[in-house]
Symmetry: C2
Subunit: 412 residues, 2 copies
């Protein structure tokens, strides 16, 4: 399969529009946009994955309920407030967001997905949002990709969008997507919103299966700080505008669409890590030779979540001792004497002991912005890849206080 | 039960001696002591708990083997090098430490416990240690408590020792102990060494049971950075010098001894948190109303290990949103609408929603050096307490690199 990168993001596939406005959700004086809308001119089939956190934000609950009843064809999203831990009022606010937009668009309330990202625990300032909600649809534009991608940013420093075109069953299809990341990023979904659009003509079941599989090998493979958010959502809308035969589950075309989706999501997932809060390094962990997939996963996640390992990466220190100690407490079945650890193919630890590679060679690799650490457990055939980052003193500093936000909400 | 604090540490109980020397293990120019010995003039019964990390340091393996064969009556310990991931040579070095000391003391090799703490992955510099090992017993002194407590320190900033006296079965007994902590501190044992001595006349089975129970509610209840070390060891020697009837398992006296042990260990465990690497706050997490003990524990540990929660404590931010999000991903059975979170009894979150306590009141509490956060899940009767700390930018900075150490070992 070849994927050709094309311009734009969620509006790149045929028949999708996007737009955004500014409500001053976080701060009335902030001119940045914080309310976005994605809309398909045609009906869609839709699929999604959501946070596995047992504390779910109101928009997650509302969107899940909508998707059980109808296919989504629009997504309304705000940044600056997560609408989480806001009780009955939070549910009502999320519903109001869907209802107002649906009325203007002339579609059903349940055809609108709702997403929020930002601070937990404060009700949405609906007095600021409501007047903009009815305005929002008038900003829809086929060139609105960047407007959407920008409006959902929180502590992100760059907007994240990607669009590709590829050929499936002899027909050209397009996939566009945008995402936001930055903090609270951990496997099993993150503080992360991702909207994907495609004009492929695909069956509901094929799309659902594909989304689960593509998320498992992209967004579920990244870890910045090990914190799992209450709002994580990936939503995929497919409107069939590319025409052709419906892509059915189990077909070669369905697998090709999955691979294309995975390609797009992995690009965005990696972009989320690279834009992680105050990170300085992008580290790929490649675990090999585990007894089972789950063992490989445990090893990768224990390493990626160790504060000591992440601190050593920040210091350009190829500290394999801290890596092996994290492997030891991962609860995976391992034997110390069989463990090899290498940096970009250079052995740092061989059979559980210091290898012969000069420390200088390893230090040069650990000083790079990006490197791969391979852990071979020599216990079996299972492997797992995880994309992660260091942790910096600046991360802690950045996350010390959200007080400015509360003060702005008049609660100081 | 009343416990009277007395002077000293491991040498406070009758018949125990301690001493330390300097080998320059970490750095030849460093004049600090780094090799310690504890010895009982009389035979002992002994018990211990060890790291559950699957990567175990050589001295842990050697001490466990010794304890299966004999009762310990001496402990030799070094700081500056963990003797972990050092293969067959590491085992030989640990055995040499026991053997040399045993020979000088005229006891069996297997009556000596061996402990190491420090950097992982480098063999012990036996050329520096060996000459001092045979010297070491000549430094034994009944006033050697502080010498032992100081020699096992690594990144600790203060020595940690405690001694008490109490009355059991109408007879005065003494318990003394010292510990080292600082980094890699996590529930299920830490990078932590703790030596306990008592002159109580106690049966082996009573002592073993008591140690397990006392560790479970002290050292297993602390968390600094969530990293579990390869070397954690608690060793308890009881020499019966206080005389009287042997304290048997199941007796009231046995439970009283357990409570006294728990009192001593909890003091040291809390001291380890307070001296955690570059921490600024001591936080007690009190989880209540969980369905099961395990659920309560999961909630406490998820909170204590969240980088975002720990960062907010560093910033004096009473950020209950981050706490509830960690509760949500803890995998404990919870219902968001039932969760209460309070700071020193002041509700920050009630029924999953922001409570009415003014933010200023909560901020004043979060600005203190020490405070208690109570989480009531309202799901059942189980509870769990955990002692933890914030994470600071300085922690990351401090742990960025162990390169100086490697360089010193001629491997830079």
């Amino acid at each position: 399969m070849t994927y050709k990168k094309i311009k734009g993001g969620v509006c790149a596939p045929k028949g999708f529009l996007g737009g955004a406005v500014s409500c001053g959700i976080k701060n009335l004086k902030d001119p940045r946009t914080d309310l976005a809308l994605v809309y398909s001119e045609r009906p869609c089939v839709s699929a999604g994955t959501f946070t596995t956190n047992r504390v779910k934000a109101a928009p997650v609950k509302v969107t899940q309920a909508h998707m059980r009843a109808e296919e989504l064809r629009a997504i309304v999203a705000n940044s600056g407030n997560a609408n989480a831990c806001t009780g009955v009022r939070g549910i009502e606010d999320a519903r109001t967001m869907a209802k107002t937009v649906a009325k203007e668009l002339g579609i059903k309330q349940r055809e609108v997905g709702v997403c929020s990202t930002g601070v937990i625990g404060l009700p949405l300032p609906m007095d600021r949002i409501a007047p903009q909600l009815s305005e929002l649809p008038s900003h829809l534009d086929s060139k609105g990709s960047a407007a959407v991608a920008k409006a959902i940013m929180t502590s992100d420093t760059t907007m994240k969008q990607v669009a590709i075109t590829t050929e499936i069953d002899g027909r050209k299809i397009r996939i566009g997507a945008c995402a936001k990341g930055a903090g609270m990023i951990c496997p099993s979904m993150a503080t992360m919103l991702c909207f994907v659009t495609t004009d492929a003509n695909v069956s509901k079941v094929c799309l659902q299966k594909n989304v689960l599989e593509a998320v498992e090998t992209s967004f579920n493979r990244i870890c910045i700080d090990g914190d799992m958010s209450t709002n994580d959502t990936v939503l995929v809308l497919a409107n069939g505008a590319a025409g052709g035969k419906t892509i059915a589950r189990g077909s070669k075309a369905c697998r090709q669409l999955r691979d294309a989706l995975q390609h797009v999501l992995l690009k965005l997932a990696k972009a989320c890590v690279k834009d992680g809060e105050r990170i300085t390094k992008f580290v790929t962990l490649q675990v090999r030779g585990a007894r089972t997939y789950l063992d490989a996963k445990k090893v990768a996640e224990a390493i990626a979540q160790s504060a000591l390992v992440k601190s050593s990466w920040n210091g350009n220190d190829p500290n394999w001792g801290r890596i092996i100690h994290a492997i030891g407490y991962s609860r995976a079945r391992i034997r110390e004497e069989f463990i090899d650890i290498s940096y970009e193919g250079k052995l740092a630890c061989e059979g559980g002991l210091m290898a012969k590679t000069p420390v200088k060679t390893l230090r040069d690799i650990a000083a790079k912005d990006q490197f791969t650490i391979t852990i071979d457990l020599h216990q079996g055939k299972a492997d797992y890849a995880l994309y992660t980052s260091d942790i910096s003193p600046e991360y802690i500093d950045f996350n010390r206080s959200e007080y400015a936000y509360w003060k702005n909400a008049g609660l100081g």
